[in-house]
C-alpha cells in the first residue's frame, strides 16, 4: 500500500522509476569491494587471536617470511606510536598492542602473491600468548570480582565507586517520578535483555590499498563513508589525510557497520612494506562476525506506572550496555533518549552505564540503541495493557507524543507523525483479522532522531541538457534514485536525464557517511540547492542572450522563460539550448552546495505483527506483518517500502533467532551464517507497508529519513505477539524455539 494516489503537485517525486543500479546489480556488472583488482596486486590474510583476553608475549613471522611469494608481514610494531583517544582505540582494534582483547582480535597481517599463499603464511606466524581472565556478559562485567579488562576506561561522567569496566554514565529526566508512581493504579517493573546481533550485511568487508614509501596512498573500499575511512586510516598510519585518496565501491549492505574501519589500514601498511604493490584484503564471513562491529548487548530495568484508563503516570529505566572491549561504542546516549520518545509522560527518569567486555568493538547498527530500548519499554507497556485489558494502540494514542509535546529527552517536537501511524495501524485490515489457536498479535511503536551532518554536493549541466550530480554519500538504500528525482523535479527535466554518481574523496569536500538516515535528506537537500544555483546561472545566461535583467527570467519546465511586464517576448530557452552553447556564453554551468545540514524531521513508526507458535516445538511463524511509518515525503515510494521491509526483517531476526553465543572460554561459538541465523525469504511473509506522509518543514520536499526506525518496533512487537499466543512473556531475546518452549512449560507450571 503506498501513496501513489495522493496528489501533491509534483511531477516526479512520488513516482517509482527503475532503479539506476538495478541492471548492473542483477547482471553482475556492479563492482563491489572484492571485485576490484590491479596489476601486481598482492593478497592479504590476518592472524587473529584465538583467546578472549591474552597478553601477546611474542610474534615470530620468520617461517611465513621464508615462504616464496610472501612479500610483507605487519604487526603493531609497524604502526606509529603516540596516538590517543579514539585514534588509539582504532589503532588498537586494527592490530592488537600488547594484549588481545577479544576472540578474533587482529594480531598480525601478511601479504603474498595469492590469497591461498597468504592464508598459509598466516598459519605459519607463531604467536605466543599468556591467557588472561575474560568476561563477555554485560551484567557479569559489572559484577564484583569481574576482571578489569582495560584500566582507565572511565570518562569524566563515571561517578566514583563504579566497577572498573564502566566506561560512561548518563542520567536525565523530568518531573517527580515517585509522585507519578504513587498516582498509578498499577506499577510494574521488570528486567529485559537483548543479545548482541550483527548487521548481517551480505557483502563482507573488502578493500584494495596501495601506498608508496612516500606515504601517499589510494584505497578502493566497500564503505558507508569514505571520508571517515580516509581520516581514520590516516590517523592509524600516522599520515596526512590529504595523502590518501579513497574511492567507494558499490556496497552490499552496511546498516551502520561500515561507518568505521576494521582492517582497511592493514592493506596500506602491507602495501607500503611490500614496495608499493597494491594489496587486496577481503574478510571471510567468520572474520566479519568475530571481528567487526556487532551492536551492543543490553540488560535493562524498566518501571512503569499506569492508571486503569491507560494513562502512563511515570517511567523509569536503568540500562546497562556493553559495546565490546573499547569505550564509547555502546549506544547509551541514543538508547536513553529513544526509550520514551514515543510518549508524552509527566515524570521520567533515565539512567545508563556503558560497560566494556571481551567482545569485538561494536559499531552502529540501524537506529543504534533504539531497538533495545524499545524492547524493554514497549514490552512492559504491552504487559500492562494486557493486564488491564486495554487496546495497545489506544493506550499509545492516549499517551503518545504529538506536535508540541516535550520530548522525553528535553526539546519540544515540532511536526511529527506518530499519531498518524497509530491511527493508520488501527484502521488497517490486519488489525481486525481474527486470531486462531496458538496465534497472537503484537503492537509496538518506534522512534529515531534522524541526522543531517556534513554534506558537500556538486552538479554539472551537460552540453545536451542533462545533469550530473556528484554526491559523497554511498548509496545503500536508494539515495541515488531519490536524489535524481529531486534534482529532476527541481530542474524540470526527465528523471532519465539526471545521473547521480557517488564520487571519491578528492572530488568533493568532506562528507559524513551514509548514516543516521541522512543521505536522501542531507545530500538531497544539498543537491536541490546546487540545482537551484545552476538554475540561477542558466537564467542569467538566457537573460544575457535576450538582453534583459536576470530578475526578469523565471525557470519552469526545464527552460528559462521571460517573466514580468518588461521582459519582452522570447521563446523559452531550454536547458538543452543553454547547455549546448554554454562554452561560448561564459563557460561551464554548475552548482555546488556544502552545509552541515539541519532541519531533520524525527521519524516514528508503528508495527503490528501476528504470529503462530507451535506448542510442541516452540517455533514461531510470522503470519503477517505490518509496518506503518512516517516518511515525511516518499520521494521514491518503492525504496521507502524497501527500507520499511528491510528494517522489519532485521528486527524480526533479532527478536526470534539472532544472537552472539559465547562459550565459557570467551570464544564466539557461532561465527557463520549456518549457526548465526538471520531470516531468509522463506522465513517471512510479504511485509505490508503503509507510508504516512507528514512533510518535514526542514526539507525543501518534506523528506524525513526512513532507514532506521523500522528495525525498532519488531523486537517488542514479536515478543508481545508470542506472549499473546502462549501466555508466556519472553523478556530475554532472542525468542528462540527452546526458550519459547521452556517459557510455555514454565507458564503452565
Amino acid at each position: 500500500m503506498a501513496r501513489d494516489d495522493v496528489k501533491t503537485g509534483y511531477k516526479l517525486i512520488g513516482t517509482r522509476p527503475n532503479r539506476p543500479d538495478g541492471l548492473d546489480k542483477v547482471t553482475g556488472r556492479a563492482r563491489y569491494g572484492a571485485d576490484f583488482s590491479l596489476p601486481g596486486m598482492l593478497h592479504a590474510a590476518v592472524v587473529r587471536s584465538p583467546h578472549a583476553h591474552a597478553r601477546i608475549v611474542k610474534i615470530d613471522a620468520s617461517k611465513a617470511l621464508a615462504l616464496d611469494g610472501v612479500k610483507a608481514v605487519v604487526t603493531r610494531a609497524d604502526l606509529p606510536t603516540g596516538l590517543t583517544g579514539e585514534d588509539l582505540n582504532l589503532q588498537d582494534n586494527t592490530l592488537a598492542g600488547d594484549r588481545a582483547l577479544y576472540d578474533g582480535h587482529a594480531v598480525a597481517a601478511v601479504a603474498a602473491t595469492s590469497a591461498l599463499l597468504a592464508q598459509d603464511a598466516a598459519r605459519l606466524i607463531e604467536v605466543t600468548y599468556e591467557v588472561l581472565p575474560h568476561v563477555t556478559d554485560v551484567d557479569a562485567a559489572m559484577a564484583p570480582g569481574a576482571p578489569v579488562i582495560r584500566e582507565g576506561v572511565a570518562d569524566y561522567s563515571v561517578p566514583e565507586g563504579m566497577h572498573g569496566n564502566v566506561a560512561r554514565y548518563m542520567e536525565f529526566g523530568h518531573g517527580d517520578v515517585e509522585a507519578g508512581f504513587a498516582a498509578a493504579d498499577i506499577v510494574r517493573e521488570h528486567t529485559y535483555k537483548t543479545e548482541a546481533t550483527h548487521q548481517g550485511y551480505i557483502e563482507p568487508h573488502a578493500c584494495v590499498g596501495q601506498m608508496g614509501e612516500d606515504g601517499r596512498g589510494e584505497m578502493w573500499v566497500c564503505t558507508q563513508g569514505h571520508w571517515y575511512i580516509r581520516r581514520m586510516s590516516a590517523a592509524v598510519l600516522g599520515i596526512d589525510a590529504a595523502n590518501l585518496r579513497v574511492t567507494p565501491s558499490e556496497i552490499g549492505g552496511g546498516f551502520g557497520g561500515k561507518t568505521t574501519i576494521f582492517m582497511e589500514p592493514l592493506s596500506l601498511a602491507l602495501s607500503r612494506k611490500a614496495g608499493g604493490r597494491p594489496v587486496k584484503l577481503v574478510m571471510s564471513r567468520s572474520e566479519v562476525l568475530r571481528a567487526t562491529g556487532p551492536t551492543a548487548s543490553a540488560s535493562m530495568d524498566v518501571k512503569l506506572g499506569m492508571k486503569k484508563d491507560g494513562t502512563i503516570t511515570a517511567g523509569q529505566v536503568y540500562f546497562r550496555m556493553q559495546g565490546g572491549a573499547f569505550p564509547g561504542m555502546s549506544p547509551i546516549g541514543e538508547a536513553l533518549p529513544c526509550a520514551f520518545a514515543c510518549y508524552d509522560i509527566a515524570a521520567l527518569k533515565h539512567e545508563a552505564v556503558e560497560v566494556i567486555a571481551n567482545r569485538p568493538k561494536a559499531a552502529a547498527y540501524r537506529a543504534p540503541g533504539s531497538p533495545m530500548a524499545a524492547f524493554a519499554v514497549e514490552s512492559l507497556v504491552d504487559e500492562m495493557c494486557r493486564e488491564l485489558k486495554l487496546d495497545p494502540i489506544e493506550v499509545r494514542l492516549k499517551n503518545g507524543a504529538t506536535n508540541g509535546s516535550k520530548s522525553s529527552y528535553g526539546p519540544v517536537y515540532n511536526v511529527i507523525g506518530l499519531k498518524e501511524t497509530l491511527e493508520a495501524a488501527k484502521d488497517h485490515p490486519n488489525y481486525a483479522i481474527p486470531l486462531g489457536p496458538n496465534q497472537g498479535r503484537g503492537v509496538a511503536s518506534g522512534f529515531w532522531f534522524n541526522h543531517g551532518g556534513e554534506t558537500s554536493v556538486s552538479l554539472a549541466v551537460g552540453e545536451d541538457g542533462t545533469a550530473t550530480v556528484m554526491i559523497g554519500t554511498p548509496d545503500i538504500g536508494g539515495s541515488r534514485a531519490s536524489i535524481g528525482l529531486m534534482v529532476a523535479e527541481t530542474l524540470g527535466i526527465p528523471y532519465e536525464d539526471v545521473r547521480v554518481n557517488v564520487v571519491e574523496t578528492g572530488a568533493l569536500g568532506v562528507n559524513e557517511p551514509t548514516h543516521g538516515s541522512r543521505a536522501t535528506f542531507a545530500s538531497g537537500k544539498a543537491a536541490v540547492e546546487a540545482a537551484r544555483q545552476a538554475i540561477a546561472e542558466m537564467c542569467r545566461r538566457a537573460a544575457a542572450d535576450w538582453g534583459i535583467d536576470a530578475e526578469a527570467v523565471e525557470w519552469k519546465d526545464g527552460a528559462a522563460h521571460p517573466a514580468g511586464p518588461n521582459a519582452g517576448k522570447h521563446p523559452p530557452m531550454t536547458i538543452g539550448e543553454i547547455g549546448s552553447k554554454m562554452g561560448s556564453t561564459g563557460g561551464p554551468i554548475s552548482g555546488h552546495h556544502e552545509v552541515t545540514a539541519e532541519g531533520v524531521g524525527a521519524s516514528f513508526g508503528t508495527h503490528v505483527v501476528d504470529v503462530e507458535v507451535d506448542p510442541e516445538t516452540g517455533r514461531t511463524t510470522v503470519l503477517r506483518y505490518l509496518v506503518v511509518q512516517d516518511a515525511g515525503t516518499a520521494i521514491h515510494p518503492a525504496y521507502v517500502e524497501g527500507q520499511y521491509q528491510g528494517g522489519a526483517a532485521q528486527g524480526i531476526g533479532w527478536a526470534l533467532n539472532e544472537e552472539y553465543v559465547y562459550g565459557a572460554d570467551g570464544r564466539l561459538q557461532n561465527p557463520v551464517f549456518l549457526d548465526y541465523r538471520i531470516p531468509v525469504a522463506s522465513d517471512l511473509p510479504m511485509i505490508d507497508t503503509v507510508i504516512i506522509e507528514v512533510p518535514n518543514p526542514g526539507h525543501p520536499y518534506g523528506v524525513r529519513g526512513v532507514g532506521e526506525t523500522g528495525i525498532t518496533p519488531p523486537l517488542p512487537a514479536v515478543a508481545s505477539a508470542i506472549a499473546g499466543a502462549t501466555g508466556a512473556r519472553i523478556r530475554s531475546l532472542p525468542c528462540s524455539p527452546p526458550k519459547v518452549l521452556a517459557a510455555i512449560k514454565a507458564a503452565k507450571g
Binding site: Y169, M170, G333, P368, H515
Partner: protein, 81 residues
C-alpha cells in the same frame, strides 16, 4: 540569555544547576560560555555534544544560531546506522 538545560549527570559539574543561563548568539559561543562559567564541564564538551535549540537538534554545528530566549538542551553526540 539563552537557557541551557543540563542532563542530570552533568549537573554535578555545574554546582548542581539544572539550567544555566548564558549570553550567546551561536552554539559555539554557548558551549564556550558554559565551559568558562563551569570549567568542570570541559571534558563533557570536549567529548562531543549535540544540542537541541528550540526543538531543533543540532548534531555538530557551532555556527548554528542561538537566540536570547532560546531553550537549549545538551544531548550526547548522536550516531546513526
Amino acid at each position: 540569555m539563552a537557557r541551557v538545560h543540563l542532563w542530570a549527570s552533568l549537573r554535578r559539574f555545574a554546582e548542581g544547576q539544572e539550567v544555566v543561563e548564558v549570553d550567546a548568539t551561536t552554539v559555539g559561543q554557548m558551549l564556550d560560555a558554559l565551559e568558562k562559567a563551569h570549567p568542570s564541564l570541559g571534558p563533557a564538551i570536549k567529548a562531543g555534544l549535540s544540542v537541541a535549540v528550540d526543538g531543533e537538534v543540532i548534531a555538530n554545528n557551532r555556527a548554528a544560531p542561538v537566540g536570547p530566549q532560546s531553550e537549549v538542551f545538551l544531548l550526547q553526540r548522536l550516531k546513526g546506522g
